[in-house]
């Protein structure tokens, strides 16, 4: 009995010499292991054809089509997706379904903000968070 307990303690004690595996978050940023990290949705206004497939496949209706006055030559009805980031689950289905690759998920996962406006209309959706910060 004592042997088993001592063995357990020994295994635990062995770990005192190993290096910590945790990361100090704000200083050492979490290494995104991939370029595929699914962050905020971003839209390319110039290639969007307004097919509304993304809003159809969106599982919780975060993605919806709105009228936005932007001329890119392919989108005759001038409807573009707008995404409610508050309910978006970053599932990536809109990216998967988009025939032109206009809507995609960026690598930006640091979305904490004081703002309460989660509904990203097309022009806001087309900029990265970085650009939005400079813009304001």
């Amino acid at each position: 009995m004592v042997k088993g307990i001592l063995k357990g303690m020994f295994v635990v004690l062995k770990h005192s010499r190993r290096k910590p595996v945790t990361v100090q978050y704000p200083e050492e940023a979490i290494p995104w292991h991939t370029k595929r990290f699914r962050g905020r949705v971003i839209l390319n206004l110039d290639t969007c054809i307004g097919c509304s497939l993304c809003s159809q496949i969106c599982p919780n209706e975060s993605d919806h089509m709105v009228y936005y006055d932007y001329e890119n030559g392919k989108n005759r009805k001038k409807i573009y997706p707008a995404v409610n980031i508050g309910t978006c689950t970053y599932c990536g289905l809109c990216q998967a379904v988009c025939p032109t690759g206009s809507i995609r998920l960026s690598n930006d996962g640091t979305l904490a903000s004081f703002g309460k406006d989660f509904d990203y209309l097309p022009d806001r959706l087309s900029r990265t968070e970085e650009e939005l910060k400079h813009h304001d």
Partner: protein, 368 residues
């Protein structure tokens, strides 16, 4: 002095009910007279939600069922839909699915091992198991781009191929995982106090297990050699070499033993699968891009898969439209949990906690 029976609510907020299980327990001193599980605190009705969405978008809900074994949940649904809509899956996609499903099984059992330790009052194994799980999650993140709700397995294949840096990370993981697993196991296995807490506790005889439709490691720990991967092989489980660990202990210790052996077997499968990965398409080109939305099915299909907790399957009824008419989820943890009272009555409070932790319920899946 008269002995009074007291009724205690364990949960829904309780440190060791693995989420939001509520147990209405009748106690006589420290002895449990009966325990009635009350569930539904995490109920979202994924079955109803699925009726309003396209076939392809429902994988998102499946992800949120068993949130520690997500790939298995996606797989169960996707395979049922593929049967329903007669969709072919490229060979590479099948192998990739198998790779991730088995890795996910390891990750899920690691979470179980850590939380079981916590339930017994051991703090440290939790950190070691989560350290290992973290490495698996990094692999998942690398491939799918998410750490928890992967949404990786798509109808007609998988959404993404392996990235270039996957190989190195994967080999690094496979190399030392088995030795680290042994180390974690030794923390439990050779510990007399642990053995006393587990041996002979929470007895589940095979007849009772069969009557309650119990599957997965819990069933195999009761001495029934029944694993869907062997009984009705899906994916390419008939092309790889692995054993089904079975134990005749019927108690908590047997369940502990079976799950640790299963992790070893899963590692074996993972190694073989990675060696056998063929090149080629990873997704059926018909169901890429806008094809995703055009999946139609008519009829009924149910495909049995072995999730980390037992038999998982989705019964899909299609009426020929782009949305399923009815989706019914067979969740293994729900069935395993229904036998709680049989297992815990007459034991002590501490044993009840240990027994529930070896059942390994995940409430996203129980409550759906």
């Amino acid at each position: 002095m008269e002995e009074k029976i007291i009724e205690v609510n364990f949960g829904p907020q309780h440190p060791s009910t693995h989420g939001v299980l509520r147990l209405k327990v009748k106690l006589k001193g420290e002895t449990v007279l009966s325990a009635e599980p009350i569930i539904g605190y995490l109920h979202r009705n994924a079955e109803k939600l699925s009726e309003f969405n396209y076939y392809a978008s429902n994988t998102v809900f499946m992800d949120r069922l068993d949130y520690v074994g997500n790939h298995n949940m996606e797989l169960g649904y996707v395979m049922a839909v593929e049967k329903l809509a007669d969709i072919d899956v490229p060979e590479r996609a099948v192998w990739l699915r198998m790779l991730f499903v088995e890795l996910n099984r390891i990750a899920s059992h690691l979470v179980w091992a850590g939380t079981m330790g916590l339930d017994l009052g051991m703090i440290t194994p939790f950190f070691y198991t989560f350290r290992e799980r973290e490495r698996i999650l990094q692999l998942f993140e690398m491939v799918s781009g998410a750490r928890l709700t992967y949404n990786y397995i798509s109808i007609g294949g998988v959404y993404n191929d392996l990235p270039n840096e996957f190989d190195a990370k994967f080999n690094e993981f496979v190399e030392d995982f088995s030795s680290r697993l042994k180390e974690i196991e030794s923390l439990f296995k050779e510990n007399e106090v642990f053995i006393q807490r587990m041996k002979g506790i929470g007895i589940l005889p095979p007849e009772v297990a069969k009557s309650y439709s119990i599957t997965g490691p819990v069933l195999r720990a009761s001495g029934v050699n029944y694993d869907i991967r062997k009984v009705s092989p899906y994916l390419y489980y008939d092309k790889v070499d692995f054993d089904i660990p079975v134990s005749n202990g019927m108690d908590n210790y047997a369940r502990f033993e079976v799950r640790f052996r299963e992790m070893e077997q899963s590692l074996r499968i993972v190694k073989q699968v990675y060696g056998k990965l063929p090149t080629g398409e990873y997704q059926n080109p018909l169901y890429r891009k806008s094809g995703l939305i055009n999946i139609k099915g008519k009829g009924e299909s149910y495909v049995r898969t072995e999730s980390p907790r037992g038999e998982f399957g989705v019964y899909v009824v299609g009426d020929g439209s782009k949305k399923p008419y009815r989706v019914r989820i067979r969740s293994p943890a729900f069935q395993n949990l229904s036998a709680t009272n049989e297992m815990v009555k007459g034991s002590k409070i501490a044993d009840m906690i240990a027994t529930i932790s070896t059942l390994d319920p995940v409430f996203g899946e129980v409550d759906r």
